[in-house]
């Protein structure tokens, strides 16, 4: 394999690689983008680039995320949905802020985000903020396609928006992955009942 070599220089603060000719991080003239490398380097600065072994545990962040989620759950149970959303949002942001190289992060983030976003969707539904609820639930189904909860929340948000056909479609897709889900069956039956009343 042959290489294309770019001429580089370093920014005055020493934190960035730039193209030599234009002193740019992202340069269309030189057709090179140093931004992804620079942001990775910044996240590794304190370690001088030495990533820990991939199985090393970093428990503090996991504990923080689950503490925030539990705090959100407490408020949720008291029907304090706005407060619950606030804590869930902090949990989500903390989980997403992990550095790219963090050992096992790919697993932790997936495990953390799915339940927190699912709970936040429920809280948003409680606040009648259905667009927000739908967005969260949709991401849950993308994170864990085979988890019925995400499909349930998605359908509930759609019902809030009076998009009943799409709601049933979401419930049914969930049943494909979890055919025994009582929750989903009930939800479908409920939609059928209200639809029947309206006719």
């Amino acid at each position: 394999m042959s290489e294309t070599l770019y001429s580089v220089t370093i920014s005055k603060d020493g934190d960035k690689i730039l193209c030599l000719s234009h002193k740019l991080e992202t340069c269309t003239t030189c057709s090179v983008d140093w931004a992804p490398l620079n942001s990775l380097a910044i996240s590794l600065k304190s370690l001088n680039g030495d990533t820990p072994p991939p199985n090393a545990h970093n428990a503090p962040r996991n504990a923080q995320v689950s503490r925030l989620r539990e705090e959100g759950n407490k408020h949720f149970k008291k029907n304090e949905y706005a407060e619950a959303v606030r804590y869930y949002t902090m949990a989500v942001e903390l989980s997403w802020s992990r550095p790219l190289w963090e050992p096992m992060a790919f697993q932790f983030v997936r495990e953390e985000l799915a339940p927190v976003l699912s709970n936040r969707a429920a809280a948003y539904t409680g606040l009648k903020l259905y667009v927000e609820a739908l967005v969260d639930a949709d991401i849950v189904t993308k994170l864990r396609k085979d988890w019925s909860k995400g499909w349930f929340r998605k359908g509930k948000a759609l019902i809030g928006m009076k998009r009943l056909d799409e709601a049933v479609a979401a419930f049914e897709e969930g049943l494909e992955y979890e055919p025994d889900s009582e929750e989903l069956r009930k939800a479908i039956a409920e939609v059928d009942k209200t639809a029947g009343k309206n006719e």
Partner: protein, 200 residues
């Protein structure tokens, strides 16, 4: 998912590659490898670059290699299937194997380079890179979330406006109906009066 539908996507994807590869003789399977180019650019810079950047660039090079290898694994299955069906010729298979060998060599090179920075790093540099590739996909979901929200908000607004217009129309319609009913009532009363008048 059935096996036929799970094969469809890679077949479609490879379809593009097959055409690309069979059209011009030596079109490579992958585009230029910017992460690799960046690594060598930093390594051969006139003024030495701090190790932090070299190690970071090597990690990004590792991520690209991992992505390419997993893409090759998917396509290999499809290609073998197409070979059995006789849809593609041997030359494509040969080219595929060259690409595969190149990527395997690339992995080995990365391991070797890692060991020049830190003893033993080569043992896990690729595993770290693979985890980073998966983690990156989750970070991309955050961006996607923003896109979904934007779209849903627009849709919700449109739906709201449509409902308003319909409500308005419904109101006008009802208003007219009421007027008509009133008119008819008045007319009926009028004729009733007339009848009554005649009777008197």
């Amino acid at each position: 998912m059935t096996s036929s539908s799970s094969l469809l996507l890679p077949t479609l994807y490879l379809g593009g590659c097959v055409i690309a590869m069979s059209g011009t003789k030596s079109q490579p399977l992958f585009g230029p490898n910017e992460a690799r180019d960046q690594y060598y650019s930093l390594l051969s810079a006139d003024k030495p670059v701090p190790e932090l950047f070299l190690k970071s660039a090597l990690l990004r090079r590792g991520m690209e290699a991992v992505k390419r290898v997993s893409q090759l694994q998917v396509e290999k299955q499809t290609l073998q299937q197409l070979m059995r069906q006789g849809t593609v010729g041997d030359s494509l298979w040969v080219e595929f194997q060259i690409a595969e060998q190149q990527e395997m060599a690339e992995l080995q090179e990365i391991v070797g380079e890692a060991n020049t920075f830190r003893e033993g790093w080569g043992q896990f540099v690729l595993q770290t890179a693979a985890q980073m590739v998966e983690h990156e996909k989750l970070k991309e979901l955050q961006v996607e979330m923003g896109r979904i929200r934007e779209k849903e908000e627009k849709d919700a607004k449109k739906r709201e406006e449509r409902e308003k217009i319909e409500e308005e129309r419904e109101k006008v319609k009802k208003e007219k109906e009421r007027e008509r009913a009133l008119e008819e009532l008045l007319k009926a009363e009028e004729s009733e009066k007339k009848k009554g008048g005649k009777k008197k």
